[in-house]
Amino acid sequence: MSLQFSPVSGPLPGAAAASDTGAAALRPAPAAGHAATVVDLARRGDMEAFARLVRTHQARVFSVALRLTGRREDAEELAQDAFVQLHAALSQIQGESHLIHWLLRAVTHRSIDRLRQRERQPRLVPLDVAGEDIAADQVDPLSARRLQTMLQVLPVPARAVVLLRYQEDLDPPEIATLLDMPLNTVKSHLRRSLDALRALHGGHPHEY
């Protein structure tokens, strides 16, 4: 499955104008001031501080890898690699937002590369996504399970866009920067993916 960028017809209706800034910076996580200090400590070689960064961000990194590759084993390996690479690149990290962007970019691109490698080989094992844990406070566990499975039906570029939009709450310009994808292509993937998921999943129509 190749990453082909499709042409777009224009902005999605109802898209927030504020998000069309093209800015690469992400929204800061809660307690950004405290986390920035942890980044500084980790950059200076404090391994406990780095471990705290891992614990803070491992869920998002692992989940992106899992939902892109569909395999828990691959996801753990890719997520681990991303953090090992992060440790080697700490001197380049300028703060919490930059760290999050760096991690998401690293794990997304590595996961897509892994999928490309897998496409050259016959699929021998079933997807693990159906075995994803459902959180105890999930509003609609059955719906969640179905959506997680349906996500695997989307083409890889669209799947990455949907994940970054609805798992990480990134806006389209941020996704475009992270994926090195034209903004209009991101919006097109979102629009078509939502249409497809809506048709498969059912539910109320919603204008994006």
């Binding site: 391994m47 780095f50 471990a51 891992v54 614990r55 491992q58 869920a59 998002r60 692992f62 989940s63 899992l66 939902r67 996801a75 753990e76 997520a79 681990q80 953090f83 090992v84 440790h87 080697a88 994803e132 844990d133 959180a135 999930q138 509003v139 609609d140 719906s143 969640a144 399970r145 959506l147 997680q148 996500l151 949907v162 994940l163 609805y166 798992q167 709450d169 939502l194 998921l197 809506r198 999943h201 539910g203 109320h204 129509p205 919603h206 994006y208």
Partner: protein, 102 residues
């Protein structure tokens, strides 16, 4: 719940567990350290400098030897010249004496 809210609910991050953190820290600890990586180019640089200094010393010593040889050759040349000059002078003196009948 509309599709977007359903997606946000379904795609909440899933934690891989405490063992994941431990594996990452173990892998980080096993990765080549930056200091070790720096030691190799530093060692190379040190050996290059040492070689350069050594070569410089050898060059200096060779030059000294060449200089000494040149000096010796000059001295020899001067000695030869001096001897020859003496010989010529002696002949001239002898010739002069013979003319004068002394």
């Amino acid at each position: 719940m509309n599709i977007e809210d359903s997606l946000r609910d379904a795609l909440r991050p899933q934690d891989p567990g405490a063992q994941f953190t431990a594996r990452v820290m173990s892998a980080v600890g096993a990765a080549p350290r930056r200091r070790a990586r720096l030691q190799l180019p530093m060692a190379l640089a040190a050996s290059v400098v040492a070689t350069a200094v050594g070569l410089g010393l050898l060059h200096s010593q060779a030059e000294q030897r060449r200089g000494e040889v040149a000096r010796q050759q000059l001295v020899l040349a001067l000695e030869i010249t001096s001897e020859k000059l003496n010989q010529v002078q002696q002949r001239l003196v002898r010739a002069g004496n013979e003319e004068n009948g002394t």
